[in-house]
């Protein structure tokens, strides 16, 4: 598989993946990575997800609070805001439409 194409595809989906993972409930950075990477193919890394969390927080899609950690420094827990949920909804609708259309197109190509 072409690496550039895979990277571009993941680049477009990383924000949706992060918002969707946080829709399941608040999480701290490492926990969130674990949630995303539990699904084969997503495989996001730390320098991709961590700066994105900061950007989404700045944009008002996430809120962050500090919580105690059993061993180390306080953990930062991220949670979706209303605006974040709206964005997730929009992205999900667009993704589903695109996905269905693409599936139909591929199926059409297979039938001919």
């Amino acid at each position: 598989m072409d690496n550039a194409w895979t990277a571009q595809l993941r680049k477009g989906l990383v924000e949706l993946a992060v918002l969707a993972a946080l829709n399941a409930g608040e999480a701290y950075g490492y926990q969130l990575l674990g949630r995303i990477n539990a699904f084969a193919g997503l495989n996001l890394n730390e320098p991709t997800v961590y700066p994105l969390l900061a950007r989404l927080t700045r944009a008002g899609y996430l809120t962050v609070r500090s919580g105690p950690s059993p061993h180390g420094p306080p953990r930062r827990y991220y949670r979706l805001t209303e605006s974040g949920r709206d964005r997730l909804k929009q992205m999900r609708t667009l993704w589903q439409t695109t996905n269905e259309s693409l599936a139909q197109l591929i199926q059409q190509g297979d039938q001919t």
């Binding site: 990277a7 950075g29 490492y30 890394n45 320098p47 991709t48 961590y50 700066p51 180390g72």
Partner: protein, 275 residues
Amino acid sequence: MNTSMNMQSQTYDARKALGGYLERTDLLLARSGLSRSERDETLGQIVEQFYDLLGVPIGEADQELTEIAIAKLAPERMFELNDTMTTSQLSRAVWNRFCIGGIVPIFLNDRGHKRVVWGELIKMLVWLGLLLAMVVTFLNMMMLGGPSWRWIASGIMFGCIQLGLWFRFTWLYHHTPVEALPRAEDWPAPRLHKIRYMWILTVVGPAVLIIALFPTAYWLIAAILSRPAWPIDNGLFVIVAVPLGVLLYVLSMWSALQRRRNTRRFYNWDRHINP
């Protein structure tokens, strides 16, 4: 007593190991184009992750546990930044590499290394050329006392060469895969320690650079003294040469300060993550 001392030593070793890892990661993230705040966020989260991976309070972690936790942080994954690299990150990557690039050795064990090496060489040529252009301008001003066709022609020639090299340099960076950058595990920490005394260069370096140009200037002054007109009397010479000298000094000082600031950040990683 011995147990307490042993635990203190383990804490120190674990913190030192984590500090070293973060220094290297910060440097490489900077070279990959992340801004200061993005790097702080990433490093802060990595610290959290490290404690999670450690599984025990840092005072109770022995060397083996620490090494396992750091290995799980998987430094090689830090170089897949092209997943989310934006144009601003890319331009920062070029800029950061310029600011800290001089002290970072180039490794030849990665895919695409040739382009990185060529990029570094071209960068050096660009700056050497700019310095030469300034010296030539300075000399022309002293010799001729003002703009002339020769002065304009040499200016255009240098400008074209520099612009050509600059475009080539930019193109190389646009086409250099992030994975081609040096890997964290290859970063030789002792090399970083050598620049602890960079502050001396910060102050003395620019002055040395200016003084180094003096022999040429003295030679010219000697040649000029035999001329009937002393070029310094020429208003244009003063208008052009003095700001040029000041600009050269400011640029050198600023560049040195940038390097020093970056170096300090690597050593004070815990201060900006956990103020």
